[in-house]
């Protein structure tokens, strides 16, 4: 054995496919190490003789590297580029190394080799499955305050990064005829065959390179070439085809309805200096007409005492480390197996010069050419025996071998042990697709049974064991499925030699870890579940595998039990004395491997988290120093503080200015719908409580919209521009749902009406000019409209021009003052606003924001739907009975309003409230009682819906929904608050200009 030391003492010269000259420097727990380009972190650590990489979840036992793939349960590490780009729980077997990679081990304190938490291992007899559920139940309060925080601190895997992730993530929707998941021999063959027909193909594989098992099956040829060379060439030729998308480092993590498959492509995790535009990961949302699953099989470990010691690995992993990376997992490697496939690893190791002192085979009289070959190489093959225990703590140092049936024990010194209990077909995605698995009793495995979606499984995941069988099946499937999507073409058969038949083996605990023992034989490494724990679960009454799983947490870690599920199931079945299929298999759920939040949210971060909607005048407000309020997705000017003003002072000033001179307000966010057609009025009659047929052209009316149940849904002013054309306004937040509500009735209930709806919310910028000087301010700017009270009274609309551009000028008011709402095409909004402001400024025109708008409307008792109503308020409750057309025979909500509960006494009605102390401002949402001296809990008779300080009234004002409120006018009620009871008087809802004279200016 010739050792090549500068990229690790266990690197063997002339073995593997990495280039010795291409070295890469990285650190592990601060220790500087060298690996080779193409190494995974696991292969580089093993090359440097490092097996101990972490501590286990519950017992803090030393753990090493089990596998060479994404099924890895143990070797979870923390990878950190910088403070904000830090990822815990990265599988060392997946992470590729790059220059400067910084890795830390997890779940240990103070260090990996000396971990205080390992005391849990000593006390483990006291920590059986279900321990937490039973022990920490009393006293009840202690769970939240003591037990849970302590347990959480002691357990857990990695540490969540403390800073926001600065990496970029992206998204791509993609469509294809055939999606092939898996780039092993079967996947490549299927993709090639489908691609040859001209069909659009996407093939993905989670590894950096294609090939799957061909990366280590050195005895294979396909098409006359060594298997790995064939895989590499095939991948290259697929990449060159225009109709094929090849995605490596890409995991298919979720299989959803109608062949919708989620993939995550890891783009920069393997790069030393990723470009700033480069996303770290890309989510692919693929809709495939056909899916071919070629997901392979996952090797199982043997379940025996201390099978979790670092240095104990899966046989296929050892073979991959050797043949791909040129790394020997040890210098004295024992083998423990229940099937043939581990022999190939032993043979490869032996041939590479590694000492293989023993192969322990649990089978009594196995016979196979590989066994003969192993023997011929001088390896001691011991059949009918089992490894009863592994010695060593931070690294396996020996194995104890005994005959299965008991007898003399002998100890063999090793520094690594490789094992194979057999292969579990990877049916995860098939199961996610809602396919039903079937039990293959002869080979003790679950295979795809009943398909639920348009997909097929090929190769090892389908139980097709021989390589030739897998290739034949894959070529046929690729051609057939492409053909079904309309692409016919010749597909070439592939001829293979060599390869391992991945069948048989054992499931459940090995001899020496049976029901009569108390040894720690791990089934689930990541969650520290032993065979004993599974049996305990059954003894405790868990008879369903779903219960066993939850009681023991077997298979519930981030690896989702890829290596452990079948073992756990077999042990449970044995304990229950029932056949395996009767105990059942838990359903596999997405994601196949953990997916970052970054990939899921992808573009939807920062500015793209949610659209921010700004009005045409937004920049003006910002330049004036306005504070903004979020209203749905809109940014609305809230108030305009001047130097030295707080919000209160600014709002007071704005409110007073509107009533004394005039104010200018951005109302652009109001929803607007243009209702056009000869039946427009008829339609509005049906959608609003009010009558519309007789509304004159050029007139406005305030309308109320109900749901069918009779409750207020929205309100707004509607203008009639022509016999067959209405300009409808809605609340800002209600615009989309009102449009949907109207379309629903128009399309499905009243389709006979000749009318159409068009959203014009964003066509118009709306500038409200309100106050006694409103007309004086706008008059010089307006052309073609007579603004006199006689020609254009309150609640009318005219079309003309303002500042030279077209306008729909509304004479209306949400302040109680005479005023206008100037609608202009949106791109002119800013210019017209500025012109109006410049014109009005000398006259005292003051910009006011949404807060002043709220106060002003409350002074007048105008409601805001959604604030003074909550979906249980009728027009009668809100004091709007006048808005219901008395002679109408139909409108949405007419029947709902007749419901007994809606016309009965005892409803909450909208009233005004005046605090006895005029300076006390009530809290919105505060509860109201009739008698503050009653015992708690008090009988609440209402709540405050709107409450403000009104500078114009010189006192606080409020509105409230109170049971039988209108009968209580003048009564004193009480609002109990934490610091005392507030006395209030029930009043009408209008606090200012009760006669409404100012509207007519």
């Amino acid at each position: 054995m010739s050792i090549q030391s500068h990229s690790g003492s266990n690197r063997i010269a002339g073995v593997g496919r990495l280039v010795p000259a291409k070295t890469v420097r990285f650190t592990f727990d601060g220790q500087s190490l060298t690996g080779l380009e193409g190494d995974t972190l696991a292969s580089a650590l093993l090359a440097n003789g490092i097996h101990l990489v972490g501590r286990s979840f519950k017992y803090h036992r030393p753990r090493g590297i089990l596998s060479a793939g994404s099924e890895e349960p143990n070797a979870l590490v923390d990878v950190e580029r910088d403070k904000s780009r830090k990822q815990p729980n990265v599988r060392a077997t997946v992470q590729e190394i790059y220059d400067g990679l910084q890795v830390k081990s997890q779940n240990r304190w103070p260090s990996l080799t000396f971990d205080i938490g390992a005391i849990n291992d000593v006390f483990s007899p006291m920590l059986p499955a279900g321990f937490y559920y039973k022990t920490f139940m009393w006293p009840k309060f202690a769970w939240k305050t003591i037990y849970e925080p302590k347990i959480r601190a002691a357990a857990g895997l990695g540490v969540v990064p403390g800073e926001a992730d600065t990496d970029r993530y992206s998204n791509r929707f993609a469509h294809c005829d055939v999606l092939v998941v898996g780039g092993g021999a079967a996947g490549l063959a299927a993709a090639l065959s489908a691609a040859q027909t001209g069909a659009k193909v996407i093939i993905c594989d989670e590894q950096a390179e294609a090939g799957g098992a061909l990366r280590y099956e050195t005895d294979v040829t396909i098409d006359g070439k060594p298997g790995y060379d064939w895989a590499t060439e095939t991948l290259a030729s697929l990449r060159a085809l225009e109709n094929v998308t090849v995605l490596t480092r890409t995991t298919a993590f979720g299989y959803y309805a109608q062949n919708f498959v989620g993939l995550v492509e890891r783009i920069s995790d393997h790069l030393s200096n990723p470009g700033s535009d480069m996303p770290r990961e890309r989510l692919w949302q693929v809709r495939a007409r056909k899916v071919i699953l070629a997901t392979g099989a996952i090797e199982r470990h043997m379940v025996f005492a201390n099978n979790d010691r670092p240095g104990i690995l899966l046989a296929s992993a050892a073979r991959a480390y050797l043949n791909q990376y040129g790394v020997a997992v040890g210098r004295k490697v024992g083998v423990y197996t229940a099937n043939d496939s581990a022999y190939a690893a032993a043979i490869d190791l032996k041939r590479a010069g590694v000492d293989v002192p023993v192969i322990v085979d649990t089978r009594d009289n196995p016979s196979s050419p590989v066994i003969e070959e192993a023997r011929s190489l001088g390896i001691d093959v011991v059949t009918g025996h089992a490894v009863f225990s592994a010695g060593g703590k931070r690294r396996v140092s020996s194995i104890s071998i005994r005959p299965n049936k008991g007898g003399n024990e002998r100890k063999v010194v090793v520094d690594a042990l490789i094992m194979s209990a057999g292969w579990t077909p990877s049916v995860h995605l098939f199961s996610q697709s809602r396919g039903k698995v079937a039990w293959d009793a002869a080979n003790e495995r679950f295979l795809p049974g009943t398909y639920a979606q348009d997909c097929v499984s090929v190769g090892a995941c389908n139980g097709s064991d021989g390589l030739q069988q897998a290739l034949d099946e894959a070529v046929a499937a690729g051609g057939k499925l492409a053909g079904e999507t309309g692409f016919k073409g010749k597909t070439a058969a592939l001829k293979a030699t060599g390869g391992t038949d991945w069948v048989l083996g054992m499931i459940g605990s090995a001899p020496g870890a049976g029901a009569d023992t108390t040894v720690k034989a791990f089934v689930d490494f990541q969650n520290d579940v032993t065979a004993k724990d599974v049996r305990l679960a059954v003894r405790e009454g868990m008879h369903s595998i779903e219960h066993v799983k939850r009681f023991t947490t077997n298979g519930m870690a981030t690896d989702q039990g890829k290596t452990s599920n079948l073992h756990g199931l077999a042990i449970a079945a044995e304990a229950l004395n029932r056949p395996i299929p009767a105990v059942g298999l838990t359903t596999f759920r997405a994601p196949f491997t953990p997916v970052t939040f970054g990939a899921i949210v992808n573009h939807a971060r920062h500015d793209l988290f949610d659209p921010t909607r700004r009005t045409p005048m937004h920049a003006w407000h910002a330049a004036q120093g306005a504070a903004f309020e979020d209203v749905g997705q809109w940014k609305r000017a809230w108030y305009y503080p001047q130097a030295g003003e707080d919000m209160h002072a600014a709002v007071n000033r704005e409110c007073v200015a509107v009533r004394n001179q005039a104010g200018i307000f951005d109302a652009s966010t109001l929803g607007k719908i243009e209702v056009v057609g000869p039946d427009a009025a008829k339609f509005l009659e049906l959608l609003y409580t009010n009558p519309w047929e007789k509304l004159g052209v050029g007139r406005l009316r305030y309308g109320i919209m109900l749901r069918e149940d009779g409750f207020i849904y929205d309100d707004g002013v509607v203008g009639r521009l022509a016999e067959d054309r209405f300009h409808v306004t809605t609340t800002t937040g209600g615009a989309p749902r009102v449009m949907n509500h109207m379309e629903d009735y128009l399309q499905t209930e009243f389709p006979h009406l000749n009318v159409w709806l068009t959203s014009t919310t964003e066509q118009w910028a709306v500038i409200a000019v309100q106050g006694p000087k409103a007309r004086e301010i706008i008059a010089p700017l307006v052309e073609g409209i007579d603004l006199s009270n006689e020609a254009m009274p309150h609640m009318s609309v005219r079309e003309g021009r303002i500042c030279g551009v077209p306008t729909r000028l509304f004479r209306m008011s949400f302040t109680g003052e005479a005023g206008y709402e100037i609608n202009v095409p949106a791109d002119y909004g800013r210019a017209v606003w500025e012109a109006v402001y410049e014109r009005g400024k000398p006259l005292g025109l003051t910009p006011y924001g949404t807060e002043a708008m709220h106060v002003l409307r409350a002074e007048k008792g105008y409601i805001i739907v959604g604030q003074d109503t909550d979906g249980t308020v009728t027009p009668q409750d809100a004091g709007l009975t006048w808005a219901i057309g008395k002679n109408k025979t139909d409108y949405v909500g007419i029947r709902g309003l007749l419901r007994r509960d809606l016309v009965a006494d005892g409803r909450k009605q909208l009233v005004g409230l005046k605090t006895k102390d005029a300076h006390v401002v009530l809290e919105e949402g505060a509860q109201i009682v009739a008698n503050p001296n009653q015992p708690v809990p008090m009988t609440m008779i209402g709540h405050v819906t709107s409450s403000y300080w009104s500078q114009n009234c010189g006192r606080s004002i409020a509105m409230a929904l109170v049971i039988d409120g209108t009968k209580r006018l003048g009564e004193t009620l009480y609002v109990p608050m934490p610091d005392g009871v507030i006395e209030v008087e029930v009043t009408g809802t209008v606090f200012f200009d009760k006669k409404g004279e100012r509207l007519n200016g």
Binding site: F260, A452, E708, N740, E743, T748, E749, D890, L898
Partner: protein, 119 residues
């Protein structure tokens, strides 16, 4: 994400373009204000929500904007058919067994409930 065929766009489109609009074939009475409490309650509140085939409304809200009806299996999420608003409720037997029914005698006509849009 489901793929839903819009009967107006005449092709399958991603679910992101659609919005579910509840149970189909509910009748809003033309004389609704005279409806009894029981009938109105049935119209306003009571829904089938079956496990299995359900008749439901969808709106292609971010597409052609049309409301339409669909028959979907709530267990498998599979759509059996979609049809325009106002078209008659399809016969379930025919949908489930297209061959057997078409060969046999005309499927027995169930009195279809009135549907939205047919008023």
């Amino acid at each position: 994400m489901l793929l839903i065929k819009c009967p107006y766009c005449e092709e399958e489109r991603p679910e992101l373009e659609f919005r579910n609009a509840g149970e189909a074939h509910l009748v809003r009475s033309p004389a609704i204000s005279e409806q009894s409490d029981e009938d109105f309650a049935a119209f306003l509140y009571f829904r089938q929500n079956p496990k299995g085939l359900q008749f439901e409304r969808w709106r292609h809200i971010h597409g052609c904007g049309r409301f339409f009806n669909a028959v979907r299996d709530s267990v498998s999420d599979k759509f059996l058919t979609v049809y325009k608003a106002g078209e008659p409720r399809p016969d379930v037997e025919t949908l489930l067994n297209p061959e057997t029914v078409s060969d046999a005698e005309p499927a027995k006509k169930r009195a279809p409930r009135a549907k939205k849009g047919e008023l």
